[in-house]
């Protein structure tokens, strides 16, 4: 069963083609990550799915309802946790949750019990009756998530849930999300520009780049599609063409070159075994090496492999 189906979404803001034909599907009960650098179209996609924005073209349905034609049904079926918290800072945590439940049509004892349960679940019960302005960043984020869950929606959108949190709070929130997904019957669509976050949390993911899905799959599956280990070589004095020839001879052909061509990445079956061979070949050709690194495939490599670009550089908008 698929809870979210997205087909060919396009949206333009002025000169910017934010979405350029985005398609993917999320299955019931899974955590699905939209991974991509800043400006790839992740938030825009989620905003269309949460009925806040309308796509220019394409179709999308959430929990069986079309986002454009049955917006109110979609709104009842989703919890939307935006990148920038929409919490009322001058109200208490409990007041925020009660109001959210009321506009979702809950009332009375059921609502009060649910609010108590959520305050406990996300770990802010002690601060429930304090004004949100005094909360820490991590506590605010937990309240944001609780707000999305009040009406027990089958689908939760988490837009960049850990951006702006310190590393400790980030890891704590990951645990929280994993726990929630297990406890509540939920499909979670998560957007992130942290590769490790997608790797840690997602059952499946789609990589988004310049308004398109580049590849979709499981983190393990995507990484295993990349044959073997990556060997990254930083040349001391350039001569990239000679180095490429030498590496072909060493049975470690260059897959990608980064920056000004001084950094070469080869893919080999076993990095540890290939390294002496590579260094010998470069040495024989008289090419000076600054440093060498061997790494197991990561989502960084997946991104690089499918887009031909460096994730970190894209994220900084270079």
């Amino acid at each position: 069963m698929e809870t979210i189906v997205v087909e060919g979404l396009r949206k333009r803001y002025g000169d910017v083609q934010a979405l350029d034909g985005v398609s993917f599907a999320v299955r019931a009960g899974e955590i699905f990550a939209l991974l991509g650098p800043n400006g790839a179209g992740k938030s825009t996609t989620v905003r269309v799915l949460a009925t806040l924005s309308r796509a220019d073209e394409g179709r999308a349905s959430v929990a069986g309802h079309d986002v454009a034609r049955e917006a109110d049904a979609v709104r009842r079926a989703i919890g939307y946790v935006p990148q920038e918290s929409g919490v009322d800072r001058f109200g208490t945590g409990r007041e925020n949750l009660m109001l959210q439940g009321r506009v979702q049509g809950m009332r009375g004892r059921d609502l009060r019990a649910r609010v108590d349960e959520l305050l406990e679940l996300v770990g802010i019960a002690d601060a429930a009756d304090r004004v949100v302005n005094g909360y820490s960043g991590g506590m605010k984020r937990r309240l944001d998530i609780a707000l999305g869950l009040v009406h027990r929606p089958p689908v939760l959108f988490l837009d960049e849930p850990t951006t702006g949190l310190d590393p400790e709070a980030r890891v704590a929130l990951w645990k929280e999300v994993g726990r929630l997904a297990a406890r509540e019957t939920l499909s979670i669509l998560l957007t992130t520009h942290y590769l490790d976050e997608a790797d840690e949390l997602a059952d499946r993911l789609a990589i988004l780049s310049a308004g398109r899905v580049v590849v979709e799959g499981t983190p393990v599956g995507l990484k295993s599609e990349l044959r073997g280990d990556a060997v990254t070589i930083e040349l001391a004095n350039g001569r990239a063409d000679d180095a490429r020839r030498a590496l072909i001879g060493a049975d470690a052909p260059v897959e990608t070159a980064l920056g000004d061509g001084r950094t070469l990445i080869s893919r080999v079956d076993d990095g540890g075994q290939a390294l002496p061979r590579i260094l010998a070949a470069l040495g024989d050709a008289g090419i000076a090496v600054e440093w060498v690194a061997v790494s197991r495939p990561s989502l960084d490599d997946v991104y690089l492999h499918y887009t031909g670009r460096d994730f970190a550089a894209d994220d900084r908008g270079e």
């Binding site: 949460a50 009925t51 806040l52 709104r75 919490v87 009322d88 800072r89 109001l99 506009v103 707000l147």
Partner: protein
């Protein structure tokens, strides 16, 4: 029934936030008294000029201060909307089945209720200063109702401008820009007979003056109920137009997302 229900929820939210600010409550109650006492003293002897319908300037002034105060309050009401937009509170509700109309309407009604409370305070202070409402209890209710109508009419405009500009600085500049001119182009402080001709003509088109005329008419002797009715009708019509304006700017805002 979803609109009144959700409007009420949103009013409770805004009111609770305001009640957490003791300074706001203090000023809410003190400011109108300051108007009444300062202007009352400053222009005390002006009734000798004639045309005021009473020799007691404070009696002439009190209903007009009620209206002026509620008009000023309305011109600032859009600031709360700008705050909600800035803090993404509105966006959060837009991703829920919350009534769209209630999100704007609640700001207008909250503003009008605040003006209603202030009006009662001003009337009580006026009573203590010796002001007697000629038409009695009915007159009190009319003054309060007219004050709330004036407030709603301008609050709708203020909400619309807030949704168009989405900037606090623009809102404050606009409020200052229209506030004092509309006050002086009305008979709030001086009898119509003492105003220059062109101002008297202009005042006929000034909604603040409609409110002042209606409120003063029930306070002073010789109440012309037909005139009160006409002014109330004008104000009610303006309320509908300005609420429509606010609603359409809200739709434009939603489309821009």
């Amino acid at each position: 029934m979803i609109v009144p229900r959700h409007t009420w929820f949103m009013i409770v939210r805004q009111a609770r936030n305001l009640l957490r600010e003791p300074i706001w409550i203090a000023l809410l109650l003190i400011q109108p008294m300051v108007w009444l006492i300062l202007y009352g003293q400053l222009f005390k002897n002006v009734t000798r000029l004639g045309g005021f319908g009473t020799t007691s300037y404070i009696t002439f002034l009190a209903p007009a201060i009620v209206i002026m105060n509620s008009f000023f309050g309305a011109t600032w009401s859009g600031l709360a909307m700008v705050g909600d937009l800035d803090r993404k509170v509105i966006e959060r509700f837009l991703a829920t089945p919350a009534s769209r109309l209630s999100l704007v309407l609640s700001h207008i009604v909250r503003s009008a209720l605040t003006a209603g409370i202030q009006s009662v305070v001003i009337l009580l202070v006026a009573l203590a200063l010796g002001v007697r409402v000629h038409t009695g209890a009915v007159g009190w209710l009319v003054v309060i109702a007219v004050a709330m109508l004036v407030n709603s009419a301008f609050a709708g405009i203020s909400q619309g401008l807030a949704l168009l500009t989405r900037r606090e600085a623009s809102m404050i500049t606009l409020a200052n820009f229209i506030g004092l001119p509309l006050l002086f182009l009305s008979s709030t402080l001086l009898a119509e007979r003492q105003m220059p001709h062109w101002m008297r003509v202009t005042a006929k088109f000034n909604p603040v003056n409609w409110g002042v005329d209606a409120a003063r008419d029930v306070v002073l002797p010789g109440t012309d109920w037909r005139s009160v009715g006409v002014h109330v009708g004008y104000l009610a019509a303006l309320c509908i137009v300005s609420a429509g304006f606010a609603h359409s700017t809200f739709r434009a805002y939603r489309r821009s997302l």
